[in-house]
């Protein structure tokens, strides 16, 4: 490795060739402010568009200031990061950004989490120096999932990197020119009219309030307080390992019991678990997997729990639409069982039973609103709140989260297994399916159930696993860019697998678009993942088909997996878009 010697603020430093001035300065404990630049560690890319010019520094014998985030060091370079010239240039840049930025910070969704706001604070800006024109883009809420307010856009273009480079969805681009320049789809179409998957990685990447989620908190408060409604809630697997971060608990804190207690304090009649319907998904999808393996037809089977991934293949790979399992996602399975089996059991009409989901995901908001999931016009899942929205509700209600005593889920839709909870991390759905398939195919209760080869945050994991005496080729893929790679291979006949799990967000639901903001901190993601497997390890039952409430549901109501009723309630079909 060739080392380069330079001086930053009169201090000598030696760094590997290719290092940026920004990184070199950090090794000396010098922080150069940035806005557009970010190391998206959770997505495996560094975004250095050099578009905001906040990080400019002075370099000796160079007439113009240089953006330190994308200027590599050179031998003998003399850099000043805090000269008067650099500092005033930064203040001018920030002043110009603030000039055409709404000043409604108090009521902005990103209040106190906004990077532009923090910069203004750090720079001690106390006046709007340049009063001028304001852009007037219409706000887009067409998708029901992502709210786009381009009047707040700072043109950092992080969303473009997330959408185009990482997810390869390709919906966003820098468009227009001059004062009208912004980032969006062609003709600035509403997101619903594009091939957006609503994965929400752009929302996680946005440093300001230009891309945020569409919230349903107020609707949920209203329903909870309507005495004619029976309001139940389901919580997705990965919410319990991330929610604590919103209450200053360390990353990876397992808050299942506190979360259940908090939901009761908010006034939900019953607190149920999406892990229950994840087990149900395994019963249906696992049966499909076994059938396809036995007949050797229509392989590989692709998982279908992730709504971002479903949107992706409907738009991008319509010719492979026969491959994904027809099983609905756990969220939707929960909704249809709640509005049939459970509604009958408690004697409530489906329209008076309100199902609320707490999800790590923004695509789930879109999924719940799909017309095929509203039989007779009554939605199976009425409202979807993100992990962040749940935290906001808990704070609003004055519930002291960290002081809560652990409580248990209600039954029957709250009983679940370790197989259900691992749905929250990349590899978990497939592992859960393999645990069940292994038992069913071998007719034994197999004890060795940890399929560690398909765990972890890598984008594509491939393994040969022994299931029921057979060698199965399996793959696990997270991030839509990785999914594209794998699907292209399958379409070209270059890869043969039996089963593939795909999740839209890199790392799985633990890194979903509805999770607490981490600034793409990989350590936090690791902690969330470890916590998921810890919850699995702690549970007495770790296989979906051994869940007593699931066994009872089939005995009392559904018959067997793949039955006619199961098909009506638990399966779906896809649409080429």
């Amino acid at each position: 490795m060739t080392m380069v010697n330079l001086k930053i603020n009169d201090m000598p430093v030696s760094v590997p060739e290719g290092t940026t001035i920004l990184d070199a300065a950090r090794t000396l404990g010098i922080k150069i402010p940035t806005l557009c630049h970010i190391k998206m560690d959770c997505l495996g890319v560094e975004h250095k568009a050099g578009s905001c010019r906040i990080c400019v520094v002075e370099i000796a014998n160079r007439p113009n200031l240089a953006p330190s985030c994308c200027t590599p060091v050179a031998e003998g370079m003399v850099v000043k990061t805090n000269s008067l010239r650099a500092i005033s240039a930064r203040r001018t840049v920030l002043g110009l950004l603030l000039s055409n930025h709404p000043k409604d910070c108090l009521i902005c969704a990103m209040n106190q989490q906004c990077e532009l706001q923090s910069l203004a604070h750090e720079f001690d800006m106390h006046e709007i120096k340049y009063q001028g024109a304001q852009t007037e883009f219409p706000i887009d809420i067409s998708s029901g999932a992502i709210r786009r307010d381009l009047n707040k856009c700072v043109m950092c273009r992080r969303c473009e990197t997330a959408c185009n480079v990482v997810q390869t969805v390709g919906v966003l681009s820098g468009i227009n020119r001059g004062f009208e320049a912004t980032v969006g789809p062609e003709e600035l179409k509403p997101l619903l009219e594009t091939s957006c998957t609503f994965c929400g990685q752009c929302v996680l990447a946005c440093p300001v309030g230009a891309l945020t989620e569409i919230g349903y908190k107020d609707d949920v408060w209203r329903e909870i307080n309507d005495p004619t409604k029976h309001v139940v809630v389901q919580t997705a697997p990965s919410v319990r390992v991330a929610l604590g971060e919103e209450f200053d608990m360390p990353a990876g804190s397992i808050t299942t019991g506190k979360m259940v207690a908090a939901l009761r304090r908010l006034g939900f009649a019953k607190v149920f678990d999406t892990d229950f319907s994840a087990d149900l998904t395994i019963m249906e999808e696992g049966t499909e997997l076994i059938n396809r393996i036995k007949t050797g037809k229509n392989l590989p089977i692709l998982t279908s729990c992730c709504p971002g991934w479903v949107n992706f293949f409907e738009h991008q790979f319509p010719e492979l639409m026969h491959m994904p399992s027809t099983a609905k996602s756990p969220q939707q399975m929960f909704g249809s069982i709640a509005k049939s089996y459970y509604a009958e059991k408690v004697g409530v009409k489906p329209k008076d039973l309100i199902v609320v989901s707490i999800m790590p995901c923004l695509a789930k908001k879109y999924e719940a609103a799909r017309p095929e999931f509203a039989p007779d016009g009554v939605r199976d899942v009425d409202y979807v709140l993100s992990t962040r929205e749940l935290a906001a509700m808990i704070k609003e209600a004055g519930v002291m989260f960290s002081a809560l005593k652990d409580e248990e889920y209600d039954n029957p839709l709250g009983e679940s297994t370790g197989a259900g909870v691992i749905f929250g991390a990349s590899g978990g759905v497939l592992e859960a399916a393999l645990r069940t398939a292994n038992d069913i195919l071998s007719g034994k209760d197999i004890k060795d159930i940890d399929f560690v080869a398909i765990r972890g945050l890598e984008g594509i994991k491939e393994a040969t696993v022994q299931v029921g005496g057979m060698d199965l080729q399996v793959a696990v893929c997270s991030g839509l860019g990785n999914a594209r790679k794998l699907l292209t291979k399958i379409r070209n006949g270059e890869a043969k697998y039996h089963a593939i799990e795909i999740m839209a967000c890199p790392g799985g639901c633990i890194n979903g678009g509805g999770q607490p903001y981490t600034g793409s901190n990989l350590k936090t993601l690791e902690e969330r993942k470890n916590a998921i497997y810890q919850v699995d390890k702690n549970l007495p039952i770790r296989k979906s088909h051994q869940n007593p409430s699931i066994i009872k549901l089939y005995n009392d109501y559904l018959g067997e997996p793949g039955s006619q009723l199961a098909h009506k309630l638990l399966h779906t079909h896809y649409f080429a878009r």
């Binding site: 390709g170 681009s173 062609e186 492979l320």
Partner: protein
């Protein structure tokens, strides 16, 4: 025919072939002559000339043409729109049979180009960037055509008018009786 990258049917091509078979065939023949491959970065190098040719053939760049270019060059529709909306030369709106461009570069501006623009606006009843309802004239402004000694300059299609005065505007329009 389906697209190599996403397997989608080329719906844009089918639609365009129905609407404008001759123009579409010409554009497809041009695209086929380009050294395109699976390397999107290399294909990007052909984007401007493809759009240039497409606009010459179609007169403007409607959504279907953008989609066709997107599918053939494997460049996303949003990126293509980004390029079209960046360069003032490209337009995604149908434009008139005759393109009037008033130069508003420094020399022409100083010599009163804005008065010329205003006169065209009032005579034609349209704003800059618009086309008359009869599709006869498009009115645009541009920055410097390199004929500063003739300022202020007006271009109609490929013809250059120099030292233009507001009084000349009706005479210029009268040259185009088709």
């Amino acid at each position: 025919m389906s697209c190599d990258c996403c397997g989608k049917k080329e719906k844009a091509l089918e639609k365009l072939m129905k609407l404008e078979p001759k123009k579409t065939t010409e554009l497809v023949a041009f695209i086929d002559s380009l050294p395109l491959g699976n390397d999107i970065d290399a294909n990007r190098g052909c984007l401007i000339e493809t759009l240039h040719r497409a606009q010459t053939i179609f007169g403007y760049l409607p959504a279907e043409v953008q989609q066709l270019v997107s599918e053939r060059l494997k460049i996303t529709r949003s990126e293509i729109y980004g390029v079209i909306s960046f360069y003032s030369y490209f337009t995604d709106k149908p434009i008139g049979r005759h393109k009037i461009n008033v130069c508003c570069g420094t020399a022409c501006f100083v010599k009163g180009a804005t008065r010329i623009v205003d006169e065209f606006k009032s005579k034609l009843g349209i704003k800059e960037g618009e086309t008359t309802p009869d599709k006869k004239f498009f009115l645009g402004v541009l920055r410097c055509v390199g004929a500063c000694s003739l300022a202020p300059v007006v271009m109609v299609d490929d013809h250059v008018y120099g030292k233009v005065t507001p009084e000349m505007v009706s005479t210029i329009l009268a040259d185009y009786q088709d």
